[in-house]
């Protein structure tokens, strides 16, 4: 590809098969959050009763915004900044904001994948001994206490070298391209993940005490349904889990051929992601039931039921107790690795595609450049003894404010400022086996954005009033609010830089349909 100014469009890469696209989209959606977030969120928000708001959120937000993203990506066929620029030239910064969120996430997401690699090995020897918590925070991470968090440059070698290997691996996958790298990797890794995870769950449900764990997980607390917080948690879970509204699904859909089948494929991807989450809930709570029985306590008294502590402290405790725990542990951490790496490459593709198109550089050069920059930041920031503290703060702010804010901004700009919702609706209908009803437009444009806006406002009020965790105020200001401010400023800056490809020489697929905004322009010109 030419690197000269205004280089012509190279032929756009393309998924080689519908199953390849489905596996890549499912691989992106199924990530660490499916395994370590969903079970804990469901349990603490009504148990079995949580499934009702969860399913409502799946249909009214998950499927709806998956199709919204796919319609944007498939119709405007480019990286996130190119797509938003094609919707309206003033919106390019929103695309870069989504790229920035993905960049921030990949720098720490890769670290957790690297931890999983180390723990696959550790579980074979139960290297944590009798104290998995002390091993994880002390021997492994050399972690500073959250109240004592400060800037430090002491890289921990045990984390750094597997992290470098992870970055080399994902950079090679990216450089091999959409069909040769991402599609091929997902065709191997996703079935492998499902088989390994099912093996782990089968072992978990046959453990003594598993029934008590499942009783705790599925027994409904009906009063939770009257709590708005529970409904917001259900929408948040679906939203974060499906990887919607921050560039990934837009970018993936831009590699579909023209004659794609969007709506039926969207339902498959959304339900596949939730099916895996439910499986994870069964596996995790069966395991916690076993642990509770061995400790002689109730399942509700077991601590560390979500997040990194569930995976790297609680599960190692169970692995130590269990006969044949080494195999169980290996399957668990291998599953974490596979779920993490398939999501990591999807995040990286958002950044790599944007850089390639903006600066007119080849796929290989773009992938290597992004891999080196992001990998270096990842090692320098997150493999230090302060890594977990920074990861925790950045993750909270980027997800709960950055991604939700990006979603609200996307709906407001695309649906209300550019008035493209009818056009996207028509695009989905014309690129699906059957047209989709008006329900899609009602939920995409009106009802679900209100829930997302409520989530955003409540989270911001809580963070401003109470801060986050035990961290010093300056620490959350610098790494939480500061990260978001940096992404915002960089987004605006990048949107001003001239394109080195012909981004504006683009015609979307003719729908035989005139969007409302264009009708208004015609009316005004008469």
């Amino acid at each position: 590809m030419s690197s000269s100014t205004n280089a012509a469009h190279p032929p756009r890469e393309q998924w080689q098969s519908q199953i390849g696209f489905i596996l890549a989209a499912v691989g992106s959606a199924i990530g660490l959050g499916n395994i370590w977030r969903f079970p804990g969120v469901a349990y603490t928000n009504g148990g079995g009763a949580f499934l009702i708001p969860y399913l409502v959120a799946l249909l009214t937000a998950g499927v709806v915004y998956l199709l919204f993203d796919w319609a944007l990506g498939h119709r405007f066929r480019g990286s996130a900044p190119a797509i938003f620029r094609r919707v309206n030239p003033r919106f390019e910064a929103l695309g870069w904001f989504q790229v920035g969120l993905c960049f921030a996430i990949i720098t720490y997401y890769a670290v957790i994948v690297a931890w999983s690699v180390r723990y696959m090995g550790y579980s074979l020897t139960r290297a944590w001994g009798d104290d998995p918590a002390g091993f994880f925070t002390g021997d492994f991470l050399h972690l500073l206490s959250s109240s004592d968090a400060h800037l430090t440059g002491d890289v921990v070698g045990a984390i750094a070298w597997p992290l470098v290997l992870v970055w080399v691996f994902v950079t090679v996958i990216m450089a091999l391209g959409v069909a040769g790298g991402l599609e091929r990797m997902n065709k191997v890794f996703l079935p492998l993940l499902v088989v390994m995870f099912i093996g782990m769950v089968v072992r978990a449900v046959t453990l003594p005490g598993a029934v008590a764990g499942l009783n705790s997980f599925f027994t409904p607390k009906w009063s939770a349904l009257a709590d708005p917080h529970v409904w917001i948690q259900a929408y948040a879970q679906i939203f974060f889990s499906l990887s919607v509204m921050f560039g990934i699904m837009i970018t993936y859909a831009s590699y579909l051929p023209r004659r794609a089948n969007l709506a039926p494929t969207g339902f498959v991807v959304a339900f596949a992601n939730s099916s895996f989450e439910l499986l994870a809930g069964i596996g995790v709570f069966s395991t916690l039931g076993y642990m509770a029985q061995r400790q002689g306590v109730g399942v509700g008294e077991v601590e560390g039921i979500s997040g990194p502590i569930l995976s790297f402290v609680t599960f190692p405790q169970v692995i130590s107790m269990m006969p044949g725990g080494q195999v169980f542990g290996f399957l668990f951490f291998a599953s974490l690795f596979l779920a993490g790496i398939t999501s990591l490459v999807s995040l990286l593709q958002v950044v790599s595609a944007a850089v390639q198109e903006k600066f007119g550089i080849s796929r290989r050069v773009g992938s290597i450049a992004v891999g080196i920059v992001a990998g270096t930041m990842s090692v320098l920031l997150y493999s230090t003894s302060n890594g977990l503290n920074m990861l925790d703060v950045v993750d909270n702010f980027v997800n709960n404010i950055g991604i939700v804010g990006s979603a609200v901004a996307t709906v407001v700009l695309v649906a209300f400022v550019a008035r493209r919702l009818p056009e996207l609706h028509e695009h989905i209908s014309q690129h699906s086996a059957k047209p989709i009803g008006a329900w899609w437009r009602i939920f995409a444009g009106y009802i679900t954005p209100l829930v997302l806006a409520a989530m955003l406002v409540l989270t911001m009020i809580d963070l401003v009033r109470n801060g986050y965790g035990d961290y010093p105020g300056w620490f959350t200001t610098v790494f939480g609010w500061g990260s978001l401010a940096l992404i915002l400023v960089a987004s605006i800056g990048l949107s001003i830089v001239p394109w080195r490809t012909r981004v504006d020489h683009f015609e979307p697929i003719d729908l035989g349909f005139t969007p409302d905004a264009e009708l208004d322009d015609l009316e005004a010109s008469r």
């Binding site: 599925f218 023209r258 039926p264 086996a433």
Partner: protein
């Protein structure tokens, strides 16, 4: 398992995994030629 927990387990499996099965059947019943043309 308690009857209530078991009922919720079955309800969840039927809706989520059943939903996946229906979605896959629907995709297979409504195939659209996957074209390489651009």
């Amino acid at each position: 398992m308690t009857p209530l927990a078991l009922a919720m387990l079955v309800f969840s499996l039927v809706l989520v995994w059943g939903g996946l099965a229906v979605a896959i059947i629907n995709l297979r019943k409504n195939p659209m030629p996957y074209s390489d043309e651009l």
